[in-house]
Amino acid sequence: MNEWWRGLAPAQATIGCGGNSHRLRWEAGRIHALDHDDAESEQTLAALAGESCTCLDLIDAWDRHCEDIRVLVLGSRGPADILATQDDPAAQLGVARPQVVAGGGAGPRVSRARRVGTLSAMGRPGPSGWTSYAPGGGPLQPARSRKVQAENELVALVGLGGGLPDRLVATVAAAWQERLARSGRVPARSRAQLQAALHGRVFAVMRGWLGTSAPPLQLTMIGEKAAPKLISEDGHIRAELRFGWLLDVWAQGLAVVWGRFCLSANTDDGRMWTLTTVGPDVGPPSLIVVKLAD
């Protein structure tokens, strides 16, 4: 696993959990429930009591969706793409709050093994049972469809504050960038989803950079080892960018630096970045070096 999270600052959100305010923190590619020291025991106890634990449920949901391309559809494209405020993002999870119900004659079981208080964002723990989803606080209800369950989880995750949704977007982007870099081949359907996700974010940056009357954007998603470029041609802005631009440039907040559009960003340590940039005249690229001072 490469350290794809280099340069991404920690992010933290406060949510309601069991009547208290608890903290979820993302750092170095992992999300942590800071106020749950022994997550597995707490979850077991909660399950036995027919209760749920919002922090741990969200971490579970995060894990389930850390490679879900739909995160890229639902998540923000940037500062100009503002999601509606959720009064209590975790309450949205209430629509999908896991409630442990009896199934197959067995007693109450939790949905899957959980690590103590933390979970690798790229981890893939295996399932150990099943969970139905019902409105939180209400009576137990029949299992929702998996599609509805997944969408409710996505809405809850993307509605979290404190920069966590952007980190989830970065997590998903990292997973797919790795696949593209490893084999270069993904299903055509996934490729269309990835290119659209790239298009939306490049388009949003372009509108902020060149204005809404800028020439139409024609984007080509190139291989992860190909050289990106941006040219003005036939009344269009033609961009050839890697999917990795999403993680290396956009997620780092480096899409426009000094009024110049960033084609690619490279770093060895996450503190000093070399950016290949193009000015508003869409001329030849120039390098910019950005360094986080000690």
Partner: protein, 437 residues
């Protein structure tokens, strides 16, 4: 179209719609991407299943950007609704339609019975209900809001009895105002289809009249999935709010390579789109250059502002076999100076409201008279389910006074039914009469 990626195209449009750079929909409540998706599905550039998945994705994305919490939950629900395949067609059963034109005076109002429809699986009575609280006759204009149950005049759930002594309860569905309700009473179980009479809460109606006989044929249509053909058909299927917006569809079809951006038909389509009324009965003058338009649009728009239609009602008995996945029954035509309407039943149910089917889920309602004039229908009051629906289709422009016969042509993607009958009116301006053959 070999290099065209329909999924990528729709998703890119979705991205730009999310960012406000595209309109993305005709009306705020429409699903995003619906029109271009329909167009691409129609020409085989993407599967209906993938198009639905993309629309679901961007519906949810838009919902999450809506400050309207009601809208958010509505869109969440719409995005999560199960979308099964369209039900298989089943031909409607033959039916006996009997004109009545009988008014029953009751303590709480007057019940005018227009016709009775009997088949082995259903019995219904077409009625107009005028509760006593009205001091004047209400509007006869069609297109009222559909309501179930009863109106302001009190419960309308009379019992039906046939000549075998069978008595059944009924339920009312229809629409109207405080002054007048129009709709049908449907028996909870069918009575004998060959009954000589029925009683409505003890008031006997002899069923001795005969509906106008109709000639029914099924015609195959050319099955060429071209962009031009799709767009003309799309224009012929307006919804409650008027004709479809076609520019997003044109963009998609041009991108897919099934339509040339300078195709001269596009100018004709845009002129037709501009001239079409949002609702039957909304009149404007015929557009310039109407004579250059192809039929049926030329004759359709040529009589756009005419209000010289005959007044009268015909009771019809027509049930089509299955065609293009549909079966249609027509039981009544009512003509007014500014247009005409028909009462129909359709199986399976037509996609109405937010569409759940891309494939062949809609009918274009064309009509043509023996003088070469064309008319286009638009769904009015409507109710039903996945398997069955019924309601009114309102046509424009008005019937030509000199027309002697009319063909109603519910048109699917690959075939159409042609239901032809004579236009023989009774006393001018009177309802419910048909001259004896």
């Amino acid at each position: 179209m070999a290099d065209f990626d329909g999924e990528l195209y729709l998703r890119v449009v979705g991205e730009e719609t999310i960012l406000g750079a595209r309109r993305g929909r005709q009306r705020p409540w429409d699903l995003p991407l619906l029109e271009p998706a329909r167009a691409l599905v129609a020409v085989g550039a993407i599967s209906a299943a993938r198009a639905r998945a993309i629309i679901d994705d961007y519906s949810l994305a838009e919902a999450m950007r809506s400050d309207d919490r009601h809208g958010f939950h509505h869109r969440m629900a719409m995005a999560q609704v199960s979308r099964g395949r369209r039900p298989r067609a089943r031909a409607l059963k033959p039916r006996r339609v009997v004109p009545c034109d009988r008014t029953i005076e009751a303590a709480n109002g007057a019940l005018h019975v227009r016709h009775v429809t009997l088949s082995e699986d259903t019995t219904s009575v077409a009625i107009t209900w005028r509760p006593n609280n009205s001091g004047r006759s209400g509007s006869r204009r069609r297109g009222h809001m559909v309501m179930m149950g009863h109106g302001a005049g009190g419960p309308l759930q009379p019992q039906l009895t046939d000549d075998r002594g069978t008595t059944v309860a009924t339920g009312f569905s229809g629409g109207g105002s405080d002054d007048e309700w129009e709709g049908r009473l449907t028996a909870q179980q069918p009575v004998a289809a060959d009954t000589a009479w029925i009683e409505i809460d003890g008031h006997r109606l002899e069923l001795s009249g005969a509906a106008v006989a109709c000639e029914i044929t099924i015609e195959a249509l050319a099955n060429d999935a071209t962009g031009v053909r799709y767009l003309w058909r799309r224009l012929a299927i307006p919804d409650f709010h008027g004709p479809a917006e076609i520019e997003e569809s044109i963009g998609a079809l041009v991108a897919a390579g099934t339509l040339e951006p300078d195709d001269p038909a596009l100018d004709e389509m845009r002129a037709v789109r501009e001239a079409m009324p949002d609702h039957p009965g909304m009149h404007s003058s015929a557009p310039h250059g109407v004579r250059q338009l192809p039929e049926p649009w030329r004759s359709l728009l040529g009589r756009l502002a005419k209000q010289d239609g005959p007044e009268g009602t015909l009771t019809l008995s027509a049930v089509t076999p299955e065609f293009g996945g549909f079966s249609v029954a027509i039981s009544c035509l009512e003509s007014q100076p500014d247009g005409f309407g028909i009462e129909v039943d359709v199986a399976p149910g037509l996609g109405h409201g937010p569409p759940r089917h891309f494939e062949s889920g809609q009918l274009a309602w064309w009509a043509a008279d023996d003088r070469g004039n064309h008319h286009l229908g638009q769904i009015g009051s409507w109710s039903g389910s996945e398997d069955y629906c019924s309601g009114e289709v309102n046509f424009w422009p008005a019937l030509r006074p000199t027309a002697r016969s009319l063909s109603i042509m519910p048109t699917g993607e690959t075939s159409r039914a042609v239901i032809t009958f004579p236009l023989i009116w009774g006393d001018s301006g009177r309802r419910g009469e048909v001259e004896p053959a």
